[in-house]
């Protein structure tokens, strides 16, 4: 066995080990990505749900009830409205 063979053998070993390491890293990253995607989906759903809830709280029927019954407001009428004109 001469030196060249030994060097190549070492190189081969290093390559083999780094391949295993890279595979392991790829799997880990993949799992992390999967988790992130699931999280994204969850957050998306959460956002949609919150948007729906906000809409439910701001729907016309509820606003009318709150304004009339809780805040004792009445519909606007032209004689009690101050009309401002935009300055051009």
């Amino acid at each position: 066995m001469n030196r060249a063979t030994l060097t190549l053998l070492t190189l081969l070993l290093i390559c083999a080990l780094s391949l295993v390491a890279a595979q392991q890293r790829a799997r880990k990253l993949f799992i992390a990505q999967e988790r992130a995607q699931i999280e994204e989906r969850k957050l998306n759903q959460e956002w949609l749900r919150l948007e729906y809830e906000q809409r439910n709280l701001s729907k016309s029927a509820r606003i009318r009830d709150v304004a009339r019954n809780q805040l004792r407001m009445s519909p606007i009428s032209p004689e009690r409205t101050l009309y401002l004109r935009e300055l051009k």
């Binding site: 949609l48 809409r55 729907k59 029927a61």
Partner: protein, 589 residues
Amino acid sequence: MRPVGFSTTPNLVLRLPMWRSRLMLFLLFFVFMLLLIRAFWIQGPGNAFYEAKGVRGTQRELELSASRGKILDRNGQVIATSLEAKSVIAYNDTVPDDLSAEKVKALANLLQISETELRKKLKEERKQIFLKRQVDPAVAQQIKQLEIPGIGLNNEYRRFYPEGEAMAHVVGFTNVNDKGQEGMELSREKDLAARPGQRRVVVDRLGRVVEEMAILQLPQNGKDLNLSIDSKIQFLAYNAVKSAVETHHARAGGAVVLDTQTGEILALANYPSYNPNDRKYLTGEQLRNRVLTDTFEPGSTMKPITVSLSLEKGQVQPNTQMAIGAKYLVGPKPITDTHPYGTLTVAQIIQKSSNIGTAKLAMNTTPQEMWDLYTAAGFGQAPKIGFPGAVAGTLHPHKKWVPSDQARIAFGYGISASLFQVARAYTIFARDGELVPLTIERSPEFKAGTPVISAKTAIEMRSMLESVTEPGGTAIKAQAEGFRVGGKTGTAHKLVGKGYGNKYRAYFVGLAPISAPRIVVAVMIDEPTGGSHYGGDVAAPVFSTIVSETLHTLNVLPDAKVKQMVLQDKTPEEIRAANAQAQHVVLKR
């Protein structure tokens, strides 16, 4: 004696027959050959089976979920959205027979079904069965925690409609598989529908995904849809119609609000309605979008269109005097008015809604001219707004008209149209003679229309329509606070069987503000009973409510004289001072 070596002694020489070793050699060779062939087979042509087996153990095809598009109103408010839900599935051969009564009870409670029903479902022959679909995720989590073997959860979506009844006929609804069934959900199914994707992954022994092999199909979320409807206007129109139907003990009602500048439909309300969130009520008559799918004889609401033809031809002016009389005989039955009039001006014919006057004017024009005008105004053609079930109504070819047909079509009998078509026709008065193309999708830019009548005629007709709502007209109740309005009442006898019975439809179609029309509003109340059945009494007040509230919502400046109770046209300092004072008053209280 020649010495003989021990190993070569002739006595010890084995005399095995040659064939035995040959046979052995051949057999060994043969077996090795068999092995070789087998190995070759497995590696080569026979490989697929083993490969498939390997793949089955490690690879899976998973669905990539996609959600249906949202439906939004013109201000971006959500009116239909899909939220995640779960379906609960029982794999009946895995569910243990001796399931504890406690768990069955808990599961039945969570599913909101009775215990006996649940037990029946679990005993069914089928391998898997939906116990319940579209279960709330929180409830699904509780079901999971019961840890009953053979009870699984699947992902799916459920559609929610925050505006409920008020918007039901516009939006429609989807079925349990998230497919559109009615309204916009049906007509825009193609755009709204979600297209789930698929991917192939490698899983480990425990079924965890460890590697993605390929994405077979990319998931595609449905597109969001922006409608021209304004939730606020829709809500107030719905409520106005609802309360009118209730007060007048009517069978049904409908209203439509159009923006004359952009051609957008701002509201389209029907009553009775239904709650699209509750699947129990998604059948029956209440699903009908009466504004678009019910046709009726437009009655007096047709008169302004007929009269504008005479104005357009220059035969009469708004102040031309006409002899009316108590009866006008065309065909077998005389035409009459509710009150007999001696003479009326053309403007008064509209204001008082005289059948005789309208018929007399119409008889001076040809059937073809009338037919052309009605067709140009959209009668006899289904509106192309992409709504399922929008009808065309009937407008018979003018060649078939006999004189009595012509006289009656002139005031809206013997012709049928939907409320939506009548509203569309009135855009010609709002837009100085142009028929505006309508849309239900948000497009807030000015639209050019198709000229139908001249601007002069349209402006003359507007002031006649305004006179209808003034003292002496048929619809004083249409007046809206702060705004000048104009319109036409209609009270049509309903066809019952072959003749006209004692049932009516009351309408009011109008525009506002008259000085620069921004909206066209049409209201229909079907079979009002108890008290008056006239359009001016039943439908006009609904028009009034819708107009004043809609114009406030659209920030339109009042054009009628109102007695101001606040300071107008003040300098900013004065306004600030007034504001400060107002706040002071509030604080004192």
